[in-house]
């Protein structure tokens, strides 16, 4: 197990290094210039003169060759210094410290909602004998699956914030309020629900449904029933645990998609997280912030995949047994 983790950690490190180099190269290939964006912002959106752009580019060291700039950045980055934002001059680390926790909170709650919802709805659809219920769930999932995440977000906004006025429509808190659970919770509801049910929820629920339905008449389930085990034991241990393997495997990969979804969700709900920061940074060509956000996102996705693998291994002993060179199982 330790070896497995070590190997995965090494892979993760390589992925992050490759990601940073790729990110740097791609940003370099992108047209336009960060100096142009900075000066445009400092003159109310008016295009700056080409001479001014050249001067600032020189001051910013943007005229150095790409490997030199990457080397400079990497040397600082390994010491934990991601530089300063081009746009605001704030340290990138400081910006991340401000934004990452909000995105972590939002995505964590959304993942929980999504998982709980998918298991509940999927199991219900798999086990019910009422055609209307199954069809109802199917129709709902079909509609959800066909709806882009931001449409779901806007719908929620209109219904629950504008029309019913049950929830505030944006931001993590009322301005000036200290960060408390009671203060954040009502603000978290709409973005978390939008993120949880607007992104691949249909896929997840269907994976649970097929995973469970497939096993309903499997020999080991029949056997368990014949032995007179309690229904709950049969469902939880013999149906759900093996039935959730495809869903869990897909979930590990899906976290990446969820984070991408968080970008749009944060924009719509004025949620001060990494996603919103990334969109603003991309718009302003704020490369230090953008590179760091890409890296952080990359790390999270790698970690999520790892967690997904571990969860599958826990659910399905066969995965553990086929781990090369034995392992502990």
């Amino acid at each position: 197990m330790t070896r497995f983790l070590l190997r995965r950690a090494a892979t993760a490190l390589a992925v992050v290094a490759a990601l940073s180099a790729l990110c740097f190269a791609l940003l370099d290939l992108a047209p336009g210039s960060p100096a142009f964006s900075i000066l445009e912002a400092r003159s109310g959106g008016r295009p700056p003169s080409p001479a001014a752009v050249k001067r600032l580019e020189r001051d910013m060291g943007l005229h150095d060759p790409l490997p030199v700039r990457y080397g400079r950045w990497a040397a600082d980055a390994v010491r934990g210094d991601f530089g300063d934002s081009y746009a605001t001059g704030r340290g990138v680390t400081e910006t991340l410290a401000d934004t990452v926790p909000w995105t972590a909170l939002l995505t964590a709650v959304a993942v929980l909602l999504s998982v709980a919802g998918a298991i509940a709805v999927g199991t219900a659809a798999a086990l019910t004998r009422r055609a209307w219920l199954r069809r109802g769930i199917e129709t709902a999932l079909f509609a959800l699956g066909g709806m882009p995440g931001f449409v779901a977000a806007l719908l929620l906004l209109w219904v629950f914030a504008a029309w019913l006025r049950w929830f505030p429509s944006g931001g993590p808190l009322r301005p000036g309020e200290p960060v408390t659970l009671a203060g954040v919770a009502p603000h978290l509801v709409l973005p978390a629900v939008a993120l949880a049910f607007g992104h691949h929820f249909g896929t997840y629920a269907r994976l649970v449904e097929t995973g469970v339905a497939r096993l309903r008449t499997a020999p080991h389930v029949e056997n368990a029933r014949a032995r007179g085990l309690r229904r709950r034991t049969v469902v939880v241990r013999h149906l759900l645990r093996p039935g959730l393997v495809p869903f869990t495997a897909r979930l590990g990969v899906g976290v990446g998609g969820l984070i991408a979804g968080a970008y749009a969700t944060e924009m719509i709900f004025s949620w001060p997280g990494v996603g919103r920061q990334a969109i603003l940074a991309a718009r302003e060509q704020d490369y230090p912030v953008l590179t760091a956000v890409v890296l952080v996102t990359g790390v999270i996705v790698v970690l999520a995949n790892l967690l997904g693998d571990l969860a599958v291994a826990w659910l399905d002993p066969r995965v553990r047994l086929t781990t090369p060179r034995g392992g502990s199982a």
Partner: protein, 526 residues
Amino acid sequence: MQKPALALGALAAAATTLLAATGCGTGGSSGGRTGGTFTYALGDEPDTFNPALQDEHTDPVTELVFRGLTRHDAANRVVPGLASSWRVSKDEKEYTFTLRPGLTWHDGKPITSRDVRFTVEAMKGAGADAPLSRNFTAVSSVDTPDDTTVTLKLGKPFAPLLDVVSAGLLPEHLLKGKKITDAGFGQRPVGAGPFRLTGYKPGQYAELEPFDGYYEGRPKLPKIVVKYVPDDTARLIQLKNGEVDGAHVQPQQLAKVRGDGRLRVETYPTADYRALMFNFKKPVFADRRIRQAMNHAVDRDAFVKSVLLGQGTPATGPLDESPYKAPGAAPFTHDPAKVDELMKTAGYAKNAQNLWAKDGKTVRFELSTFAEDSSRVAILNVAATQLKAKGFDVVPNPRPRDWVRKHWGDLEAFVVGWGTPYDPDTSVYGPFHSSQALDKGGSNYGTYSNPDVDKALDRARDTSDPAERKAAYADFQKALAEDPPFVWISYLRTANAVPAALKGPARRTLGHHGYGFFWNAEKWSW
């Protein structure tokens, strides 16, 4: 069988997840509230609150926190700010300002003439970092004979000087030895304006409280919160819900806001105009009669009605909203007969496709703009349709912003935006003087060149005599009308919703992006 029960149980669990999520909490307070904190939502959050890094526009927080030596009144005339008075030498090369007595910064430190010297030198020295620095290149030295007197000496007369020293004064004791782009100061600014910044959460909001030491007395609003809500729809919902008291609203949202009795809409004109710029390196634009004809071919009222939903006024020149607008300088009307006449005298005739042609060549050009800017794309489409209907072979083609940034010189025609409510020099010298051509590193992107325009612009810059400047700008506008560099389309209006009970907001012609709504917030109350 227990199966249905289990299925129902699972469904109940699903429902509980949803309900647990939706059970608690309510929206903001709704309606009718007066007094207390005034919360205002807008979309754009500035990168910094440092006024030295904001040129031709000032975001609301920076405007509330800072004051300059001078400021502008409701008619955009220069009036005393931190300086109570000033004297200009006969040769117009020496400006002596007297500071109001007993001024302090928000942190309690006294404001002295040395802060003025520091500000001018810092802004001038910012160079590549700050577009604003161009306003101070004329200053050769700054003398501080005593704590409340400061003299700016110029190499040669520079008429807009009183205007440019309206830029926020910077505190020497906090910025000395630091770069002008210092993030600490940019996020926690200290100024001498009516409100001081008491809290700032990047990406969320800024909190401001009245400054006791403000020279006109403590402002009446107990607190202002500026909330950053980038999504237009979310901003409207927050306004309707009462989560915010006021907000910047888009033209298409006005109808929804107007029906709300709790709100009042403040609609102000701006000096921000949209026009079609031509690249004079392309021979197709050489004949000025073609450009005059196109200025008569567009129906500006239709633009205002369809594209801007009424939130604009027809534009016929760069100074329509300026005190320097010359009477009778707006010769361009929607006049199809005039188009025919001008094109025929230019030697053109309609071809089989009903397009103007001469020697088999039509007036063919690509009209472009930033593809990301939906309102400019709308202007582009309507302009292309109108011009095509009048016989001009326009090819509409919006292009990505990043592409445009690298290819200004290759564009044929482009939807641009310029204009300032303040001294005209800042927004006409750059785009129209031949010394500012693109190749020379300036912002005359179309490489427009007209000796009469150059002469008039130089004259207007080198004198501060109001009558003489007025005459110079009248000549400038006349020369532009005869040899139009642009097809002028429309000035934009900006709309803000505020609580019906809020007293004080006053109409003024605002600048780019409609910033400046808070220009007299020290007088607001509710």
